[in-house]
């Protein structure tokens, strides 16, 4: 199948790739660029495990075709920690025990980061609804919500 040249940024690095039109952004990130932290849980945009941030918005990367991200800035779970220091959302997930098997965790962290960046003042109820696109089967969500609220508080205080 024919491939098309596409240029975009992933975690600050310029990517100039030849991409088949049928490949999703998720497939490009995982199979072409080799960033496997973003997970494939359903391939239908329902579980949120493949969530990445595109130009500030949390997006399920299995629902985006790779050829459509030209010129965009993408952040994946691998791009969150800076200079070896974890992002407050990552640290909060550790401190509260907000993950178990960890498969949904990259998606949850990316969704949470985008939500907090957009508005850290959400109530617990608002975060519960806003995170409704991410499925976790292990935790029952109690400790995830604790992590997100703690991270939002921390980011609010330090900004």
């Amino acid at each position: 199948m024919a491939k098309y040249p596409v240029s975009f940024k992933v975690n600050g690095d310029e990517q100039d790739l030849l991409i088949e039109p049928r490949k999703t952004l998720l497939a490009v990130l995982r199979d072409v660029i080799g960033l496997t932290g973003t997970k494939e849980g359903c391939s239908t945009g329902d579980c949120g495990a493949c969530t990445v941030i595109i130009d500030g918005k949390a997006v399920t990367s299995c629902m985006v075709l790779g050829v459509t991200v030209a010129g965009k800035e993408i952040t994946t779970i691998e791009g969150l920690a800076e200079d070896g220091e974890l992002h407050p959302v990552q640290q909060a997930f550790i401190d509260t025990g907000g993950y178990q098997c960890g498969f949904c965790t990259p998606g949850f962290i990316m969704s949470s980061k985008a939500l907090i960046d957009e508005n850290p003042d959400r109530t617990e109820e608002e975060f519960r609804h806003a995170l409704g696109g991410n499925i976790c089967r292990c935790t029952g969500y109690t400790k995830i919500l604790e992590a997100v609220l703690n991270a939002a508080e921390e980011i609010r205080t330090n900004s």
Partner: protein, 767 residues
């Protein structure tokens, strides 16, 4: 104040950083050079004869490197269907190609001709003589026919007397129960204690109901995946997402007739298991066969849709349950007749029907359980396999009795709960378990005793019991010159068990938690380890780790005595150093210095070994209370409060234990309220997250967890397995809460809005 410094503490997990940075390597993240992508070709019918399989078009597609069918299985063991398919999605062939899209395209090009056969999906239909025969036609007698046949056999065996007339009468009676000749039976299980007929006769109240529990999927977030690489010497390496690498090794060896030593299984980080990740032929064997044929590594990764079609979910079942009690609240008898939907395989947790006995003194009990074939995929374990289903029936019926005799449901349970030394119905003597403590703890925490409910609100309570399994394991621990310790073992981390093992070893070696690291070996290198299921890991590997650390401790004292010219009795290991207790001024040597010294001794480095297989386990109890609000117009139930307590023996890491309680309770909630794999004559009709809804954070309140600690005599520090118990009571908790809210028992799960509306209408409450 705890006597311990590391165990019993809420410490961050050992795999924390890799899990939150995306560095953890799951099965689909493995990508050896030259890897091909596999795709399984699946049946498009739920029941059909296979006329032909034509792979010629697929072979022509550029990029296709291998196509396999059952003809490529040298051992002849069934990996792919040959003459007949039994369910939608059953594997028929597999393809390996240079690109996943090419593999999928090739799979579509394989032309399969079918002769479609009649289908049966409902267990109560499948047992009838009119049902299609799915795998031969095994018939079994139901309870009454069994009783009559047993009597006939007994009379016939009595040579001294003539019972011909009596036998003839009984044989005639047998004909009255033709409807008890069950068809399509895959397995049966029968248990009896006391005399239920007598028990029911002595009861003031007898309640009977039929409980229907749906088939649900474990829905681990990582779909099944394996990467196999067969090299030219015949050596096979499999990167497997599995709960039990050693079981997968022997499974592959057995299925393909390959020596065990030729297979190395590397367990990858597991994206959830819940009992569903032990299967050998689901992806592992096809990956090996494809790799052998293509001569390159092959990854076989299931999609979510394939998970629903060909995973091994939890069996649904129909349980007819009858309970007799006196009007002052004593339970006298309980009888169950259960039909478990085992799909295309046998088994299906039927032995768990015994769990309808609960944790109560019931002098008379009778259980008859059957596994029934239907045109669905096979089933497997799901978190306390079979217990949520059986306990739902038992605990829902208990509430209905409590209501009839006008007794508070918590008090009714407390009054009937077994105590230490009581007889377990058909099961020996009860050890010390915190049954009452756990129920009282949840009642107190939830505010049960002064509970309030507005219109359409209700409270429900239920308890569920489970006992962790046990199995073999081995652990090594080495102490290094810098005072750190390294653990080596082969058991899969099932959400926190590596952390528990690490905490135990740090505790015994008296070193900081973060100076102990843990490394998992593959099946070529690590000592054998039992699978990570059945809540076994903390119990088994915890005990094993303890033995390894104690062994190292022994060597440490031996070395220190030599080094410090004293007797071992004068030494104490404390805060990472060995102290001469009798010395004044104080005299000590650090573990690091001792480890350095050990390298030049005759005895050598400090290596502790632990090996363990079996000790009796102690039951655990989970008790839960929910408060709900039901909208009588829409039938929608909103959960307002969910409190869960559990007797965990001892919480080695309370944060991880809370996580298990919260997660298990929510899985139980989902089974009660939302989840159901639905089937028609075409097979499963909801193979995705849009139609098979699992709960999200938006559906739930905070789960409040309460840890109760009544130590298990053989558990490490008294710990019991904690993973499975929390799912066991929730189905009943929810049904009981909804009944309290609307006054009607919904005994067919899940409690979807339409069922609530129907139930209200049928009882004259409806709009």
């Amino acid at each position: 104040m705890s006597e311990y410094t590391v165990v019993g503490q809420k410490l961050p997990r050992v795999d924390a950083v890799e899990k939150v940075t995306g560095a953890a390597q799951y099965g689909a993240d493995v990508h050896p050079a030259g890897m091909l992508y596999g795709k399984i070709v699946r049946s498009k019918h739920a029941h059909a004869n296979i006329i032909s399989i034509d792979t010629s078009e697929a072979e022509k597609l550029p990029g296709v490197r291998a196509i396999i069918t059952q003809d490529d299985v040298p051992s002849g063991r069934r990996v792919f269907a040959t003459d007949k398919v039994l369910y939608l999605g059953e594997p028929l062939a597999a393809v390996a190609a240079t690109d996943p899209d090419i593999a999928a395209e090739a799979a579509e090009l394989i032309n399969i001709e079918y002769e479609v056969l009649p289908v049966v999906q409902d267990v109560m239909e499948a047992i009838k003589p009119s049902a299609p025969h799915i795998q031969g036609d095994e018939t079994k007698d139901g309870p009454k026919r069994r009783d009559i046949s047993a009597k006939i056999k007994e009379l016939a065996a009595d040579q001294d007397n003539d019972h011909a007339a009596e036998i003839q009468k009984l044989e005639a009676e047998l004909n009255n129960y033709d409807d008890e000749i069950y068809h399509n039976i895959s397995a049966e299980s029968h248990t009896e204690a006391g005399d239920v007929e007598k028990g029911f006769a002595e009861s003031d109240i007898v309640v009977e109901d039929t409980y229907v529990i749906p088939r649900v999927h474990q829905t681990y977030m990582e779909p099944h995946v394996s990467v196999a690489s067969a090299d030219s010497s015949g050596k096979i390496t499999v990167w497997a997402s599995t709960q039990g690498p050693f079981a997968i090794r022997s499974g592959i060896a057995g299925t393909l007739g390959i020596p065990l030593t030729q297979i190395n299984v590397i367990g990858t980080t597991m994206g959830g298991g819940f009992g569903g990740r032990f299967g050998v032929i689901i992806t592992h064997v096809p990956a090996v066969l494809l790799s052998q044929k293509a001569g390159r590594p092959v990854r076989v990764q299931m999609t979510r849709e394939e998970e629903f079609l060909d995973g091994r979910p939890a069996p649904g079942c129909v349980i007819k349950l009858k309970t007799g009690a006196t009007k002052d609240g004593q339970i006298l008898a309980r009888q169950a007749l259960a039909f478990w939907d085992s799909g295309s395989v046998s088994g299906a947790s039927i032995g768990s029907t015994i769990r309808v006995r609960g944790v109560y003194k019931i002098p008379n009990i009778k259980i008859d359980a059957y596994g029934v074939h239907t045109n669905k995929s096979g089933t497997a374990a799901y978190r306390a396999p079979g217990a949520p289903q059986a306990i739902f029936a038992g605990e829902a019926q208990l509430d209905d009795i409590a209501e009839q005799i006008g007794m508070d449901p918590v008090k009714f349970r407390l009054m009937n709960m077994r105590e230490e030394g009581d007889e377990v119905p058909a099961g020996g003597s009860e050890p010390k378990v915190g049954y009452k403590e756990t129920l009282e703890a949840v009642a107190d925490a939830a505010g049960w005793w002064d509970r309030e409910a507005d219109d359409n609100q209700g409270w429900g309570v239920a308890v569920g019991d489970w006992t962790n399994g046990c199995g073999p394991g081995g652990v090594y621990v080495s102490v290094h010159e810098d005072g750190s310790a390294r653990i080596f073992h082969g058991s899969m981390d099932i959400t926190g068990t590596d952390t528990a093992i690490t905490q135990i070893i740090a505790e015994i070696l008296t070193v900081p938690y973060d100076s102990v690291t843990i490394r998992r070996g593959d099946t070529d290198s690590a000592p054998y380890s039992t699978g990570s299921g059945g809540s076994v890991v903390t119990f088994t590997m915890g005990n094993t780790a303890k033995l390894a650390a104690e062994d190292a401790h022994k060597r440490i004292l031996e070395l220190a005595a030599e080094r410090l010219n004293t007797n071992e009795d004068n030494l104490e290991l404390k805060d990472g150093a060995i102290h001469v207790i009798t010395a004044d001024p104080p005299k000590s040597i650090s573990l690091g210095e001792l480890a350095a010294y050990s390298l030049s001794t005759t005895g050598g480095p400090i290596v502790g070994k632990g090996s363990f297989a079996r000790q009796s386990s102690t039951p655990a109890l989970a008790a839960q209370i929910a408060k709900v609000e039901v909208d009588p117009e829409t039938g929608r139930t909103r959960i307002l409060k969910l409190v869960a307590s559990q007797d965990v023996g001892f919480a080695i890491n309370p944060m991880a234990v809370e996580g298990q309680i919260e997660g298990g309770t929510v899985q139980g909630y989902a089974w009660a309220m939302m989840e159901e794999m639905q089937y028609n004559d075409n097979g499963n009709v909801n193979p995705g997250f849009v139609d098979y809804r699992v709960p999200t954070s938006a559906d739930l309140p905070t789960v409040e967890s309460v840890i109760v600690e009544v130590p298990a005599p053989n558990g490490p520090y008294g710990a019991k397995g904690v993973g499975e118990p929390p799912i066991t009571p929730t189905l009943a908790t929810m049904s009981n809460a909804v009944k309290d809210a609307i006054g009607v028992r919904i005994s067919e799960l899940p409690i979807k809005p339409e069922k609530v509306v129907d139930a209200l209408k049928n009882n004259g409450h409806g709009a």
